[in-house]
């Protein structure tokens, strides 16, 4: 074994290094760069949306194109930015955190990454097709989605292959975590980031095939004469919504759980104090994951379900507040009586805790069926899910990038610029999304290209916040490039209070790490 490993010790160079890569670090890097690119493509679409909504009347785009921006923005951000960024972090960090030499299935790892660029090329190419890109919302509700032109089959197959990619990624993570932990790294000794990712991987495997099934039924409804979702043929348009959200709700946690893991790693580091309630964090994460399969219909309280169904889904949804609350309190208690410093990753993590909690509050409100009849499908919902996904998931991903950049590049990033990036992002995103609560309560539905003049003021404020947020993210790219090119050398232990095996290897992490399992001491397993 050792001689074999020795033969492969050289790092391949050039294009081959990236196309044929089976190295978890290179694949992780590619995932992260891809996610960042998609973040800007999806962000550009958000800029078009906010420009059109800047004032009443149609100024820039037609309603049909506007709808396709709304649709593709969501697909790109969810499947192209947040999920791949999470998988990229998992690739880079999980083997380093559990003392494994690589992912368990390196060739599959290569394939699950390289599907993504093709999948998104296919999705984005629909914008140039006869009839335009998908424009019925990312939720793809029939019958509307069946009115789509030539883009329809491309949309369906995009979903299929992205699903294949994600499922392979999930299998890989599960196989790695269950088989490749260094001796002594028991499950309850694993860093919380690893735990949240294992649970996320199970969610992916359980929910994505359901989604693939639902979109396949759409495909046969359109081209092969079936009537799964066509009432005139004996089918049920609402069935799609049930099946979709059976996937869709766990998907929400697929985006959020890795963020919980990141924040649970960073807050103890900069509080110089162990994570409070490790075991309860693990159980809370698992509870949230299990509950996520029993709350799907809260996305569709207004479809006209029987009252018993509405009550069940209301109670189950409200129950999620309990484990989520436990997490927030644990983060608070971790900070309590610590010796905190406020480097950029810590700032993003604290903002995550506050702003994600605000999103959780509006989530509790939305979960109460009778009052949801007012909030549903309004900008209140738009504000809610952007609080949990942008100031939630994306802030956590930013925190992770700053936190591990020294390990990835071997250099410290520019702390001053990082802090400027944080403050710009935090202020702009609140100017962007907070007024949307007011718009929704006042009666503005989501997914409309134009609106009554009573909504004009807050839309303009929101757009200004949107442009500011968009521009500030360019600073992040500059900081990352600057850090990759040089700067202050990072130590192996880049952060004073950091715990975990990733800080025992040099910075930048060598091409191969832990080729022989590390000997773990009690101190190394603290978290």
């Amino acid at each position: 074994m050792s001689t074999l490993a020795h033969d492969h010790h050289h790092a391949p160079t050039g294009l081959k290094r990236w196309f044929y890569s089976t190295n978890h670090k290179d694949i992780g890097t590619m995932y992260l760069i891809f996610a960042l690119m998609m973040f800007f493509i999806g962000g550009a679409m958000a800029m078009i949306i906010r420009a059109e909504l800047f004032q009443p009347g149609l100024q820039f785009v037609d309603p049909q194109f506007y709808n396709s921006m709304v649709t593709i923005h969501a697909l790109v951000m969810i499947f192209g930015a947040v999920m791949p960024a999470g998988v990229g972090l998992a690739n880079w960090m999980i083997p380093l955190m559990i003392g494994a030499p690589d992912m368990a299935l390196p060739r599959m790892n290569n394939m699950s990454f390289w599907i993504l660029p093709f999948g998104f090329a296919m999705l984005l190419s629909t914008l140039f097709m006869n009839g335009g890109g998908p424009a019925g919302g990312w939720t793809m509700y029939p019958p509307l989605v069946l009115q789509l032109g030539d883009a329809f089959p491309f949309l369906i197959f995009t979903v299929h292959i992205l699903g294949v990619s994600s499922i392979m990624g999930a299998i890989n993570i599960i196989a790695t975590v269950f088989n490749m932990r260094a001796p002594g790294m028991t499950l309850m000794k694993m860093p919380l980031f690893v735990w949240t990712w294992v649970i996320t991987a199970f969610l992916l495997i359980a929910s994505l095939p359901v989604f693939a099934g639902a979109v396949t039924m759409l495909l046969t409804d359109k081209y092969f004469g079936t009537s799964f979702f066509n009432a005139a043929g004996g089918g049920d348009p609402v069935l799609f919504q049930h099946v979709f959200w059976f996937f869709g709700h766990p998907e929400v946690y697929i985006l959020a759980l890795p963020a919980f893991g990141i924040v649970s790693t960073i807050i103890p580091t900069f509080s110089r104090k162990p994570l409070f309630g490790y075991a309860s964090m693990v159980y809370a994460t698992a509870s949230i994951a299990i509950l996520s399969f029993f709350v799907w219909a809260h996305h569709m309280f207004t479809v006209g379900m029987p009252i018993k169904g509405e009550l069940f889904f209301m109670f189950a949804t409200m129950l999620i507040a309990v484990p989520t609350g436990v997490k927030v309190f644990n983060w608070m208690a971790t900070m309590w009586r610590g010796a905190m410093t406020f480097e950029t990753p810590m700032l993003f993590s604290i903002a995550f805790v506050v702003l994600f909690t605000i999103g959780g509050f509006s989530g509790l409100m939305l979960g109460m069926t009778p009052i949801d009849f007012q909030y549903h499908d309004t900008y209140f919902v738009v504000a809610h899910f952007h609080y949990v996904l942008l100031t939630g998931a994306i802030f956590a991903l930013m925190a992770a990038a700053y936190y591990w950049l020294p390990k990835w590049t071997g250099y410290m990033y520019d702390e001053k610029l990082g802090k400027i990036h944080f403050w710009l992002s935090a202020i702009a995103s609140n100017v962007l999304f907070f007024p949307q609560h007011f718009l929704g309560l006042a009666g503005m539905p989501r997914r409309i290209p134009d609106y009554n003049i009573q909504f004009a003021d807050f839309n303009m404020i929101s757009s200004i916040g949107g442009f500011a947020y968009g521009i500030s993210q360019l600073l992040f790219v500059y900081i990352v490039i600057k850090c990759a090119l040089g700067g202050k050398k990072a130590k192996a232990q880049a952060w004073e209070g950091a715990k975990g095996l990733e800080w025992t290897v040099p910075s930048p992490a060598p091409f191969h790490t832990f080729e022989t399992p590390p000997k773990l001491t009690k101190a190394m397993l603290e978290h």
């Binding site: 785009v61 309603p63 162990p274 479809v303 006209g304 209301m314 509790l364 409100m365 200004i464």
Partner: protein
């Protein structure tokens, strides 16, 4: 524009200076609405809003206190505790108690909203791409409610229109839904083509309108007035352009209105059979085109490439031998094109076809009369 921009900025910062109640015209909060149910919803909304605000103040307060005091720069030595079973039980129990105390009133309200029995009047709202059809089931009256003409003009993507001058922009219709006050009214929602959602915020709820399904709901409007809302489920290109306007009047006025409306409809039907001059047909046709056809086929009949065919210069609207096909298409629809035979009177269809065959350089000179349409219907 710049002035508007400036005042917006000033208003935004002013937000932080004035108590929330003083800026009523900024509509920060949920509407109280016009029905007992919308008031109940508002009350429950306020309860949960205050609960989350107070929870937020406590949680973030403790967190920020810690952030200000427990920092390394103040020379603090970090504590080493990492769990406390008592604390963890407490902060699992407290949220549980809060959500149970919220679930009880929510359940009561939901049960109240669900009871559509003993309603005095039933209206069926059917969503179309992109308009609403209202059937008054007891009074045997049907209305189609389109976006009003002024909003249509102002919502085009052309220079020189300014919606800011029009208070009811995208919030007005040609035919409002007239309902009596102080009466329990059952409102059924369904759809003809794709999912829509019927929502008037002042009535307190929205409900999806789904083809092949009928959802039932009810309302009881306290005061006469005009209540506005719009479609709340994405339904394609015209999703933002299908408002709902409810005009609530006294029962007597409602009865008078129904009688008058029915007379007007039968009079219109009778008069639509008369033969009209080409000029009159063109004027009438232009108005009907704007209300019914423009959303897809566009202001200049140019259509939307790949989705909605152009009419300007197209064979069906220009060639003599296709006249029959043209009439047939309007009457019976095809794919996304609805069956306008169900929605419009013969004279209206004759006028709009005459308009389509002579506008935008089509200049066929064809004149179609109501009698041609009634003949085609047979």
């Amino acid at each position: 524009m710049t002035k508007f921009f400036k005042t917006s900025i000033i208003k935004f910062f002013a937000l932080f200076l004035i108590p929330l109640s003083a800026i009523a015209d900024w509509k920060l909060n949920l509407r109280q609405g016009a029905t007992p149910i919308s008031q109940d919803i508002y009350d429950l909304h306020m309860v949960v809003l205050w609960i989350v605000v107070i929870t937020g103040i406590i949680v973030f307060g403790i967190m920020f206190w810690s952030i200000f005091h427990h920092r390394k720069s103040k020379g603090v030595k970090p504590a080493t505790f990492s769990h406390s079973t008592t604390l963890e039980i407490i902060w699992t129990a407290i949220p549980l108690v809060i959500i149970i105390s919220l679930a009880v009133p929510a359940t009561k309200l939901l049960i109240k909203m669900d009871d559509t029995s003993e309603s005095a009047l039933t209206v069926k709202a059917t969503g179309y791409q992109w308009k609403w059809k209202y059937d008054y089931l007891e009074d045997d009256l049907t209305l189609y409610s389109n976006l009003d003409e002024k909003s249509v003009e102002l919502s085009q993507r052309v220079a020189g229109v300014n919606p800011m001058e029009y208070e009811n922009y995208l919030y007005d219709v040609d035919e409002p839904l007239v309902l009596p006050v102080q009466t329990k009214i059952r409102i059924l929602t369904t759809a003809n083509d794709v999912n829509h959602a019927w929502w008037v915020p002042d009535l307190g709820w929205k409900r999806d309108a789904i083809p092949g399904f009928v959802n039932d709901n009810w309302t009881y409007i306290n005061e006469p007035g005009t209540y506005r809302g719009q479609c709340a489920e994405i339904c394609g290109k015209g999703h933002g352009y299908m408002p709902i306007v409810v005009k609530a009047v006294s029962m007597d006025e409602y009865k008078t209105w129904v009688a008058a409306k029915k007379d007007a409809q039968s009079a219109a039907k009778a008069s639509s059979n008369v033969t009209m001059s080409k000029e009159d047909l063109m004027t009438k046709g232009a108005a009907i085109y704007k209300a019914n056809c423009l959303a897809c086929h566009q202001a200049e009949g140019q259509g939307v490439k790949g989705v909605f065919p152009a009419l300007a210069g197209s064979p069906i609207a220009t060639q003599k031998e296709n006249l029959g096909g043209h009439i047939d298409r309007v009457l019976h629809g095809k794919n996304l094109m609805p069956k306008f035979g169900e929605q419009l009177a013969d004279g209206d269809i004759a006028a709009v076809i005459t308009y389509e065959r002579n506008a935008w350089g089509n200049n066929t000179g064809d004149v179609i009369q109501a009698s041609d349409i009634s003949a085609a219907r047979k």
